[in-house]
């Protein structure tokens, strides 16, 4: 049995229609238009983006709707007709939703009623844009027309692209030649070539040295933040990615590192004015010890206790830091000002460029540490505990000590990030240590690819770098995170760059030499993906 194309289309259209209406109600239609304007090189300086960008935005939604509606029925002689029919009905339904919404809000706005009392984001300007600056009836009709037409045409094109032999062979040829190039012997030789790799490292190193000097303070600020989040991500990855123990209140250790550093170097409230490096080391140590102390009573329990306890701990820390009671000791709600900057051989080393170097070095050191840990005996033990704690214990792993070590290391790395953060901003306060920081870190680890070091870099760039660049969507960060996480779980449940188990190296080399090669065809099988082995 196949479902009828119209029904398919109506389903898809309803989904897109609802999304459309929701986007309008939270004001995302305006943001979308603004983004498109920005991408096309015409940012709106103030107020509303041009109408044309909104039209483009709506057409894009329509195209997406049409393409996804036309996706399903792709067999049988009627498939082209079916697909186009599905696209048309999807567009019609989506357009209908938009039109009804546009008509209602257009009429409301025409009667000079301000709905912002109920729906904060629905300003008269956004309503008027939603109805293409027309009167309600005309605007609704236009909305309906635009959605239906774009969906219909895109379905047509999508089917055409998919069924046309010519285009298909073209795509196959291109992707084939691309993958051939990527997988070709020459490239893989190049990747494995020692000198080529050193050359690559050299280029990266030069870029890392030159870029902070040339790209200016703003970018140093953005990428400094990214760097700090990379450090946080690498730290959280140890306990959550490898050892498999969810830590929600990771920000607590970040706060402890930041405050330890800040209180030791700031003139107020204690006037200790310690040296940067000693305070940094102490920030790391104190955060690590606090991780140890938190872990001691709970890590021999299984389950999500650690998540809950650290969540509580981070809130306690934040509230304590904010309380008036401790103002004389921690600076209270106003935080700690004039936190000390780095010095090098007695002279100040505290420009934004200098600080960028320090962050880069810290990222490199932590990545190196993480890389070494990953392949170590301890790292293996963490993964084993993550996979099956009982069996891990039965193979002789001291699960409690392993987990404790992981947590302490994670906490210490968070302490490093916190100290750097406080020093760079020359300030730290309770509001720097909201739970949102920890949630950001969890998100970036998951999105990037849990358990994978390059994935964490990617995640940090995607989640901390992009929002800085695309400031418009800042208010929708939670929404975007939510969508991103759902989409990730659906499409790439292991993250953009999933962790690869280091499978294909260990025993192949000495296998060839040590035993009779004829006796086991395994050498050939090593490159076969699982499941095709037989």
């Amino acid at each position: 049995m196949r479902t009828s194309p119209v029904r398919n289309g109506i389903q898809t259209g309803t989904i897109f229609g609802i999304i459309m209406v929701m986007m309008f109600l939270i004001g995302f239609t305006v943001i979308g238009a603004e983004l498109i304007g920005k991408i096309l090189g015409n940012p709106s300086i103030s107020g509303m983006p041009d109408l044309i960008y909104f039209v483009i935005f709506m057409i894009l939604v329509g195209v997406w709707c049409g393409v996804s509606a036309a996706k399903r029925p792709l067999y049988g002689p009627d498939s082209v007709k079916d697909a186009v029919l599905a696209g048309l009905s999807a567009g019609a339904i989506c357009g209908l939703c938009a039109a009804v919404t546009g008509f209602i809000f257009g009429s409301v706005a025409a009667n000079h009623i301000d709905v912002r009392a109920y729906l904060v984001s629905v300003s008269p300007e956004s309503i008027s844009m939603f109805t293409f600056n027309q009167n309600p009836t005309l605007g609704a009709l236009a909305l309906f027309g635009v959605m239906t037409l774009s969906s219909f045409l895109s379905a047509l094109v999508a089917v055409e692209v998919r069924t046309s032999q010519k285009i298909r062979t073209m795509i196959e040829n291109t992707s084939g030649s691309i993958s051939e190039t990527v997988h070709s012997q020459r490239i893989s030789d190049l990747l494995n070539n020692k000198y080529a790799r050193y050359g690559f490292y050299l280029i990266v190193a030069i870029a890392l040295i030159i870029l902070p000097r040339t790209w200016g303070g703003y970018w140093n600020y953005v990428f400094g933040t990214v760097g700090i989040y990379i450090i946080l991500g690498l730290g959280l990855n140890i306990i959550t990615g490898w050892a498999g123990q969810l830590v929600i209140g990771y920000v607590a250790f970040f706060a402890i590192g930041a405050y330890t550093f800040a209180l030791l170097t700031a003139p107020v409230p204690h006037n200790l004015l310690w040296n940067f490096w000693i305070a940094l080391a102490l920030g790391i140590v104190v955060a690590g010890i606090s991780g140890l102390l938190i872990g001691l009573p709970i890590l021999n329990l299984r389950g999500d206790y650690l998540a809950i306890v650290t969540l509580g701990f981070s809130e306690i820390i934040r509230i304590l830091l904010k309380s008036d009671l401790l103002t004389t000791f921690t600076g209270g709600p106003r935080g700690v000002h004039d936190v000390g900057g780095p010095t090098l051989f007695g002279s100040s080393f505290n420009t934004d460029v200098d600080f960028m170097y320090i962050i880069i070095i810290a990222v490199l050191v932590v990545s190196f540490l993480a890389y070494r840990l990953q392949n170590s005996h301890t790292g293996k033990a963490w993964v084993a505990i993550n996979l099956d704690e009982t069996v891990a214990r039965a193979t002789g792993i001291n699960a409690f000590v392993s987990k404790l070590l992981a947590l302490a290391l994670s906490a210490a790395i968070a302490g490093l990030a916190g100290a750097l953060f406080a020093s760079r901003n020359q300030f730290t306060g309770p509001d720097d240590h909201q739970l949102m920081v920890a949630i950001n870190v969890i998100c970036l680890v998951i999105v990037g690819g849990i358990g994978n070091i390059p994935g964490i870099f990617l995640g940090a760039f995607a989640l901390k770098g992009l929002p800085e660049i695309l400031r418009e969507i800042e208010n929708y960060r939670m929404l975007v995170f939510g969508i991103l996480l759902i989409v990730m779980m659906r499409l790439r449940p292991e993250g953009f760059l999933p962790a690869k188990r280091p499978v294909l190296e260990k025993f192949t080399a000495d296998q060839r030499s040590s035993t009779d090669p004829a006796s086991h065809p395994g050498n050939l099988e090593t490159n076969t993906p699982p499941g095709k082995g037989k």
């Binding site: 214990r393 792993i397 001291n398 082995g533």
Partner: protein, 236 residues
């Protein structure tokens, strides 16, 4: 006496899972522990390997009391458990699983040699050494679980239901392997629901029922015992 259990009492909260059992394993023996679901067989093994703590009783291994020893030290003493249900590290490759089995061994060269000798015993695993172990067939997974246990050079191997969920042919293979391991000097404590097979290879056997040992004897004796036949072998 290699392993002796005296008056072992284990509780899960208020549930009295093991109600004072006594038994022993001599050097070089295969001892089977048979019984129905919930009789306390796995509990016994988990208590011996230190994952569960007894409330009362004594476990001595090689003359030392080990009931308070943590699991990682028990592994170092030479008691290795192959857990129930083919619990391998599914997202690790076959060879990585074996490496984990040798966790207590720090010398890489020794590990490599041991992996080779385990591969000699299980040629099938050698063919699949780079495969993710979760993608192995059931029989191969069970072999891997046993092979991982062997990596630690056990004096006493605790096998928890090695025949679980395997076809009769594979069960026979697994039991051949168990006998083979035993002949090379490893003592074996075998927990099984498949009483027929277990009793056939066991030197001695104990029947466990709701936390108590209700019967004991040589494997052959129990195979012929009427009540055992009725309860566990499906006879009438």
């Amino acid at each position: 006496m290699l392993l002796s259990i005296e008056n072992l009492q284990v509780y899960y909260g208020a549930i009295h899972a093991l109600q004072g059992i006594h038994f022993s394993v001599e050097k070089g023996e295969i001892v089977a522990l048979i019984g129905a679901n919930g009789a306390g067989k796995s509990t016994t093994l988990n208590t011996i390997s230190g994952i569960l703590r007894p409330r009362e009783g004594k476990i001595s291994f090689d003359g030392q009391e080990i009931q308070q020893t943590p699991p990682q030290d028990i592994v170092r003493k030479g008691i290795i458990q192959v857990p129930e249900g083919r619990k391998i590290f599914g997202r690790m490759a076959v060879w990585e699983n074996l490496e984990m089995g040798a966790y207590t061994q720090k010398d890489r060269a020794v590990i490599k040699r041991d992996v080779e000798s385990v591969f000699d015993r299980f040629p099938r695993l050698r063919e699949r050494r780079n495969q993710l172990s979760g993608t192995l067939s059931g029989g191969e997974q069970q072999m891997l679980a046993i092979a991982r246990g062997l990596m630690a050079h056990p004096t006493l191997l605790l096998l928890d239901e090695p025949s679980m969920g395997l076809s009769p042919l594979l069960v026979e293979q697994i039991f051949d392997i168990i006998q083979d391991i035993n002949e090379q000097g490893t003592s074996i404590l075998l927990v099984e629901q498949n009483a027929q097979m277990a009793l056939a290879i066991a030197d001695r056997a104990y029947v466990l029922e709701t936390g108590k040992i209700v019967m004991q004897g040589t494997g052959d004796d129990l195979l012929e015992d009427k009540s055992v036949i009725e309860a566990y072998l499906g006879g009438h």
